[in-house]
């Protein structure tokens, strides 16, 4: 789980071009949107693409989005639960 969260932080920074943000600046349980990292709806789309590209996971139910993308830890937990075995 720790390795996955570390990878996710690097991938989020790269995908969203978060300038001046380092992986260690993002807390495992820090909210990603609004008051936390300050991401917005376009970033949410980028995160959906990130899950598909890197982990072959599609979020089919839009209502899952806020729960999945709450923090790096919730993303990692979702990936662990839903990742196809051959990914």
């Amino acid at each position: 789980m720790e390795k996955l969260m570390s990878d996710l932080k690097k991938q989020i920074i790269e995908q969203l071009n978060l300038q001046d943000v380092k992986p260690e600046d993002i807390g495992d349980d820090q909210p990603l949107f609004v008051e936390g990292l300050g991401l917005d709806s376009i970033d949410a789309l980028e995160l959906i693409v990130l899950l598909q590209q890197h982990y072959k996971i599609k979020i089919s139910n839009a209502e899952d989005g806020p729960k999945v993308f709450r923090s790096v830890r919730t993303m990692a937990e979702y990936i662990t639960t839903h990742q196809p075995s051959n990914a």
Binding site: N17, Q19, I42, L45, E46, V49, Q53
Partner: protein, 343 residues
């Protein structure tokens, strides 16, 4: 009707975006690609927003914000831009990813920002401006079309203050593709040798220029557009000559009262021949200066010329020109004239 320029701003291959006036130290092209000198964008744009902006968006938004700041205008009555190529970098990224990723899992940001009206839209979003917003994409008449739209709005309501501007960028993709048409010079023919080089080809340029204009003069007015006009695909030099004569006549201007001709010479001897021929015939004795040795060739380069001419007039020093005729053509097919005066 007269259009009063209340402020102007440009990001160009010349340094000194934040300075007043034209840079004292002129930057010369060192190759056939003349990129802009990028200012510290964080001074003008929220860093959180910069991360999503490609170069053309940054240079357009920063120039627009500086122009608004100089004019002390928080909310323009309209935002009108012109661009020939639009957001090429984002378009290139989007298309490249389509190919690489088999048209699946595409990043939305590049797609969203690949449209031609992104610069005008981003300015409006930053200002929370819900007023008139339009972008003109008419190749080398894009800026002139934006200016015409602004003039029509001001004809209806001269008190309005309109943000009008243009932006175009060079990208690796566009430079490589345009180079195949053999329209750029060999690198050894640039620098001081560009204008009057005697060879074909020019240098690739880019930039953004923005203006706050109004139909009413105020204390901030720095110059005044008396008139402007365009001519598409003249059949010969005679038609271009008639276009210039008719323009001066319709704007009630005696050529003897023009202090400076600012011409669009770009170093291509074929394209520059018309300037040289008509300079002697129509403008004998009137000083002529060029501007593309400062900004390179691109379809909205005339917006740089308007910025430059406005600075020359607003210097208000002894000997500075009071009336300037800008004459530009792009590849011989798009001729434009702008008559600018002190006010």
């Amino acid at each position: 009707m007269k259009l009063y320029i209340h402020s102007s701003s440009a990001i160009s291959p010349q340094p000194g975006f934040t300075d007043e006036g034209f840079p004292a130290q002129i930057r010369k092209p060192e190759s056939n690609r003349f990129d802009v000198v990028e200012p510290e964008y964080r001074e003008w744009i929220d860093p959180k927003l910069i991360r999503r902006m490609s170069r053309i968006i940054r240079m357009g938004v920063a120039a627009a914000k500086k122009s608004l700041q100089t004019a002390k205008l928080e909310m323009p009555d309209a935002i009108i831009t012109g661009t020939a190529y639009g957001c090429l970098e984002d378009t290139g990224v989007f298309i490249q990813r389509m190919v690489e990723q088999g048209e699946e899992m595409l990043s939305p940001t590049a797609f969203i920002q690949s449209t031609h009206n992104t610069v005008a839209a981003q300015i409006a979003l930053l200002l929370k401006c819900h007023n008139y917003n339009n972008t003109f994409v008419h190749r080398a008449f894009s800026f002139e079309s934006a200016l015409l739209d602004a003039a029509l709005l001001l004809e209806e309501n001269p008190r309005q203050k309109i943000l009008v501007g243009a932006a175009d960028e060079i990208t690796s993709y566009s430079y490589d593709i345009l180079s195949r048409f053999d329209i750029y010079k060999k690198n050894e023919e640039v620098g001081d040798k560009l204008i009057g080089s005697g060879t074909t080809g020019t240098i690739a340029g880019e930039g953004s220029a923005f203006f706050v204009i109004s139909g009413e003069k105020n204390d901030q007015s720095i110059s005044c557009i008396d008139d402007f006009a365009s001519l598409y695909k003249p059949v010969d030099a005679g038609e271009t000559e008639k276009f210039i004569i008719d323009f001066l006549k319709s704007s009630d201007t005696d050529i003897k009262n023009v202090d400076l001709i600012l011409s669009g010479h770009n170093g291509d001897n074929k394209g520059d021949a018309i300037y040289d021929a008509l300079q002697e015939k129509l403008f004998g004795g009137i000083p002529m200066r060029t501007f593309k040795n400062y900004c390179g060739e691109y379809p909205t380069a005339i917006s740089f010329a308007l910025w430059y001419a406005s600075l020359l007039i607003s210097e208000n020093a002894k000997g500075s020109p009071k009336k300037i005729l800008i004459w530009n053509h792009y590849k011989g097919t798009h001729h434009s004239l702008i008559l600018l005066s002190a006010c």
